[in-house]
Each structure stands twice: as C-alpha cells, then as structure tokens.
C-alpha cells in the first residue's frame, strides 16, 4: 500500500511558482486561497533557498487532533483529507498546523472565514471520486485517474517530488548521493538511512547522471 508524501529539494527549487499556479488552475482554487506556496529563505542573499510548501499529510496530523468537529480523516494511502460538510471554519487547524496549510476563503458561510480548504494531494474528498460535487468542493481527483499531484508532476526542475513515500525517498536519496553532498545534514539517517530497495536507476555515490 502506497504511503503518499511530498519532498521538496531545496537545491533544485528555483522559486518559479509553477507548482502554485498548477495547483490553482487544476482545482479552480478561489482567489485568496493558496493551497501551495513557495517560501524563500535569505531572499536576495547569495545562497538563498526556496521550498514549495503545502499540506505535508502528516502521519500524526495535529490538525486532525485539534479539530473540534472531527472533520479530518486519513485515507489508506496516508492522505489527510477533510469533509467540508462537517467543517465549521473555526480555524483551530490553522493554528495547529506547523506548515500553515489550512486556508480560509474570505467570503464564506461563516462571515469572513469560510470552511477550511487545503491541499488534498489531488485526492478530492469524501464525495464520490470524479464526481461534480467532489470537484466543486475539493477540486480534481487526479489520484483516482492514475496520476500524481499536478504540482509535483509539472515541476520543471523536479524539485518537488510527490508519490509513495518509499519511492520518492529513493529518488531523493539517489539524487543526493550523486550530488555528493547533503547526506551529512541532521536527520538524514532518520529520514533516508534505509538502504535503497528497488529504486530503478539507484546509483552509487559519485555516479554520473544518465
């Protein structure tokens, strides 16, 4: 069973905001709501780094823990989704989320703050997959079409990787080993310490790009 995750490679992200645009266009996201955005550190300074941030579909999601109406659920693929029919737009999830993923439209049923909207990993919501109702509330359901999230699939530098956690971790590990640096960072062993298992094209350190 796949366990869906995103990884953004800060060495490759060029802050083009293509992922943001792709997301907005794919799901007809309303004005003022950004399910994904690019964050740049040390902007304008030599060595600046950018990463694309959205809902990280946490394994132990804090939004899920604090929601007073329990509108969140996790699919068997590890995607954290929510039911807009249950959401009351209180904003607790927004305070709990370390990534600032939950977004609120400025004109909704609840005065100035409508029901929460966030990245769905292009997996829609509880409505029937591919239905009009699902599209209107949550956007396209690309996973049920056999595709990966639009943001990751269209990333021009392939900085943003999305898919089964094991597969994208293998891709990223191979990339870092070929790059020859990056694996010394804190937490690498925890995140990617596992030996490569079945990643096609996994090359040893110092190998050349094919």
């Amino acid at each position: 069973m796949a366990r869906m995750k995103f990884i953004c490679d800060a060495e490759r992200c060029i802050e083009c905001n293509g992922c943001v645009t792709a997301c907005k266009a794919e799901h007809d996201v309303p004005w003022g709501v950004n399910r994904r955005r690019v964050v740049t550190m040390n902007d304008g300074v030599q060595g600046e780094r950018s990463i694309s941030v959205a809902c990280m579909h946490c394994s132990d999601a804090p939004c899920m823990a604090v929601c007073p109406v329990d509108c969140f659920y996790r699919t068997p693929e590890g995607v954290v989704l929510h039911d807009k029919d249950i959401c009351i737009g209180c904003g607790y999830c927004s305070y709990a989320c370390p990534f600032g993923a939950p977004q609120f439209p400025s004109n909704g049923t609840f005065g100035l703050r409508g029901k929460m909207d966030k990245c769905t990993f292009c997996a829609g919501g509880p409505e029937e997959n591919g239905s009009q109702a699902e599209y209107e509330k949550y956007g396209r359901n690309r996973l049920s079409e056999g595709k990966l999230p639009a943001c990751a699939e269209m990333c021009s530098t392939k900085a943003l990787l999305g898919g089964d956690g094991d597969v994208v971790a293998d891709i990223f590990r191979t990339r870092v080993l070929n790059r020859g640096r990056g694996s010394e960072v804190w937490g690498w062993g925890t995140a990617y310490g596992r030996p490569s298992q079945g990643a096609p094209g996994a090359a040893p350190a110092g190998g050349k790009k094919s």
Binding site: A2, G125, N129, G201, G207
Partner: protein, 75 residues
C-alpha cells in the same frame, strides 16, 4: 384499584427512558470515501492501468513516480 393505578404509573415512569431519542451528534459522522482506484469520471484516466483494480493502481503510482526520477534508466 388504587394499587393497580400506582403500579401502572410506576411502570410508565420506569419505561419512560425507553422512548428517549438518541442524542449523539449525527453531523459528526463522516461519509465514507470511495477507494482511490475507483472513479466515476473516466474521461481523464491516465493510460496503463485498470480502473477498479487496486494492484494495478499501486503499480501505476510506482511507475508514474519514476517520471520524477532523473536517474531512472531511459527506456
């Protein structure tokens, strides 16, 4: 007659609770999501997999993810 009426009244009090409506919050019940490998709209399906087949969908996801791998061998 009087004890019978009292008994009937006591019985009514005792079973009164049985008519109580359930007060759980129904709105908190989520709709069950359909499995991701099933879809209603088949117009935009990616080629190479069989909709409704979990194993096929899993294989499609793994294969599709390799499209992001610069180091994957070219076919």
């Amino acid at each position: 007659m009087k004890p019978l009426a009292l008994l009937a009244a006591a019985a009514v009090v005792l079973v009164a609770g049985c008519g109580e409506k359930v007060q759980t919050i129904e709105s908190g019940k989520r709709k069950s999501d359909t499995p991701v490998w099933q879809t209603k709209d088949q117009r935009f399906l990616a080629p190479g997999w069989t909709p409704g087949n979990e194993a096929s969908w899993n294989a499609q996801m793994t294969q599709r993810a390799q499209g992001q791998n610069d180091f994957a061998p070219r076919k």
